[in-house]
């Protein structure tokens, strides 16, 4: 099957186009012309077809890759400079390592792989770097060498594939509740505890609960940068990918369902429990949840990613490319940690000496 890649070039001067988060348009690096996604899509539909070339000949033996490795690799020709771009079989958008032009693999966005939605980047790389620097600030236990060595400028904009789940959850819960009344007849303190069975049933609708569909993206990172503002979400167009990295999904919608169901059930349960009011104590006795309908939409959501290593250990930082919410685990400088404990202990000892001297001298 022939495979092709597409560069978005400026219709005016032929320079490479990048998606500009600020203007939300495609912008030429050279002549600063801007184009809407629709304009470029229409204009270059024909060009892209022309750019289709026969895939580069690629055999495992010649390249020295194992069969297994070769099976997951793809080679494309860059339409700008003709160089071969080698990437894995999930890569949907990248840049040419030779000419640096943003490159999109249309085959990764076609047929069943075509995303329904995309939230375009809102924050530029400079803003991402600024936010990461702010994220490091004020963290006294962060090793200085980590801050200095983690190549912050290598932060990359990436469209991460997500499944957005729409569902209705039928919730049926029963609670054991008590109401306590105390009074006194002068001789006795009387406590009356009335017991109730409380039943609540309801239908809770959820819209676009996100779960990342990229195996190499840790779930806890992608969960932690929520929420995304869906009001900026638009129907998918390939031109939004220009200038960013993107992988197509490699986690099926059904594979994430269990995790998403749990989130929806927790929320449905909390909502029903919150309607049980006026009791002294409420304990859930029976819970039953059933998803009565559901569908998953495929979407690309914008994320800035910095993957770095420190003392041989990988560290990942991700930022919501729309809201700027930054998350990531950072290493602790254990030398600073224990130094802090030691300093406070020494301050305590010195203070103890001063107070003892003061007590002996009759200061207080």
């Amino acid at each position: 099957m022939p495979e092709q890649v597409t560069n978005f070039k400026c219709p005016n001067c032929g320079g490479p186009l990048h998606f500009d988060a600020q203007s939300q348009k495609l912008k030429c690096d050279y002549c600063d012309s801007t184009f809407t996604a629709d304009e470029v899509e229409a204009f270059y539909k024909k060009k892209n077809e022309e750019a289709a070339q026969a895939p580069a000949q690629f055999t495992a033996d010649e390249m020295g890759w194992t069969e297994e490795e070769a099976k997951h690799m793809r080679a494309y020709s860059c339409p700008s400079c003709g160089a071969q771009i080698v990437c894995d079989d999930r890569t949907a958008a990248t840049s040419c390592p030779y000419c640096g032009n943003p490159t999109v693999v249309p085959a990764q966005f076609s047929g069943a792989l075509k995303p329904s939605y995309v939230i375009p980047f809102k924050l530029e790389k400079a803003e991402a770097i600024k936010r990461l620097n702010e994220f490091y600030r004020g963290k006294s236990l962060l090793p200085k060498s980590f801050r200095d060595q983690n190549h912050i400028e290598e932060i990359k904009g990436m469209y991460v594939p997500f499944w957005l789940y729409d569902a209705k959850v039928d919730a049926d819960m029963a609670f054991h509740a008590t109401r306590v009344r105390s009074h006194s007849d002068g001789e006795y303190n009387i406590t009356e505890t009335s017991h109730y069975q409380v039943v609540r049933k309801g239908l809770v609708t959820f819209e676009k609960v996100p779960a990342d569909a990229a195996e190499k993206m840790p779930d806890e990172y992608m969960d932690a940068i929520e929420p995304f503002d869906y009001s900026s979400m638009v129907p998918f167009e390939m031109s939004y990918m220009a200038g960013y990295l993107a992988d197509r999904y490699d986690v099926d919608a059904s594979a994430n369902q269990e995790r998403t169901d749990a989130r929806m059930q927790n929320s449905a349960g909390t909502l029903l429990a919150n309607t049980v009011l006026g009791y002294t104590s409420v304990l859930p006795e029976r819970t039953y949840f059933q998803r009565v309908s559901g569908k998953a939409s495929y979407a690309f959501l914008p994320v800035w990613v910095l993957s770095t290593r420190y003392n041989g250990k990988p560290y990942l930082f991700v930022m919501n490319g729309q809201t700027g919410k930054m998350v990531g685990d950072m290493p602790a400088d254990m030398r600073k940690f224990w130094l802090m404990v030691l300093i406070t202990a020494i301050v305590g000892v010195l203070l103890g000496f001063v107070l003892q001297y003061g007590a002996q001298a009759g200061w207080f």
Partner: protein, 291 residues
């Protein structure tokens, strides 16, 4: 780093602020108060020294307060209210025990009252006897010093012979706590620090080191901020919740009865950092006499 310094400073201040709570509390040095200058300064200091000696020996405050008038208090409550007004008592909270002779000069009225553990020996009858035998005869003669001295002597005798059980925490050299009874010397915070230098310094070092460890752990925890989402509330649209059934069924009622104790006990619940009293915490009072 500024944040760290602020946290450490806050820890240090917290440590210093709790010192008075963990160290022995100094009892007031004044036991005899005279608003009216009825007693000469020599008499006042002699009586005060004697009252302090008795109070310290038995860990029970023995007080005399001479007021110009009844301070607007009723005769029934005069001694109790003066006890509270002067914040009397040896020890803290409900252990702030003591016995008081209160004299209102304008009304020529006197009364006695006991609070806390002192109530056990200074019963209503005992206080009445002390008033009648050791105080009133002198006050009727305007012999204020002898009346006051008589009260102190009678109080000492009562404490000595009355099987007084002391509930005040006592420190012997700062190391041995005794539940009560034997008269012991009571050290102030500064005395304790002065005589327990190495222990105090080690406590300060360990205490602040512990605070430093807690701060460091909090700062270390701040380096991690990832986690799986457990809820999906924000993805519920407006009007996305429909309650289809809502029923509350009454099952049964359990009733428990606890008899109300009518013996108010010692009363006088302790308040943090000061004394608090209730009328049930006193013996005597209201049984005073004019002279």
């Amino acid at each position: 780093m500024k944040k760290t310094m602020r946290l450490m400073l806050a820890g240090l201040l917290a440590m210093i602020s709790v010192l008075p709570m963990i160290l022995p509390v100094r009892a007031s040095d004044t036991y005899v108060y005279d608003e009216t200058d009825t007693l000469s300064s020599d008499e006042l200091s002699t009586l005060n020294a004697k009252a302090e000696e008795i109070s310290t020996a038995y860990s029970c405050g023995v007080y005399i307060v001479i007021t110009t008038d009844q301070h607007g208090y009723s005769e029934y409550n005069y001694a109790k209210d003066v006890y509270m007004e002067y914040d009397l008592g040896y020890g803290e909270g409900e252990k702030a025990n003591g016995v008081l002779l209160a004299i209102a000069m304008d009304e020529r009225y006197m009364d006695t009252v006991a609070y806390g553990a002192a109530k056990d020996v200074f019963t209503d009858d005992t206080l009445q006897s002390i008033q009648n035998d050791s105080v009133l005869p002198y006050l009727r003669e305007d012999d204020w010093y002898s009346g006051a001295d008589g009260f102190l002597s009678a109080a000492e005798s009562t404490l000595k012979n009355g099987g007084y059980v002391d509930y005040t925490p006592q420190y012997t050299g700062g190391t041995n706590y005794t539940g009560g009874g034997d008269p012991v010397s009571y050290q102030t915070a500064s005395d304790w620090i002065a005589t327990h230098g190495p222990l105090f310094i080690a406590l300060m070092g360990g205490g602040l080191g512990l605070i430093g460890l807690i701060i460091a752990l909090v700062m270390k925890a701040q380096l991690k901020n990832i986690g799986i989402q457990q809820q999906a509330d924000r993805y519920i649209p407006k009007n996305g919740v429909t309650l289809t059934a809502q029923a509350d069924y009454f099952l049964y009622t359990q009733t428990s009865r606890v008899r109300i104790p009518h013996d108010n006990g010692r009363g006088g619940g302790g308040g943090g950092g000061g004394h608090s009293y209730n009328s049930g915490g006193f013996s005597g009072g209201g049984g005073g006499s004019h002279f």
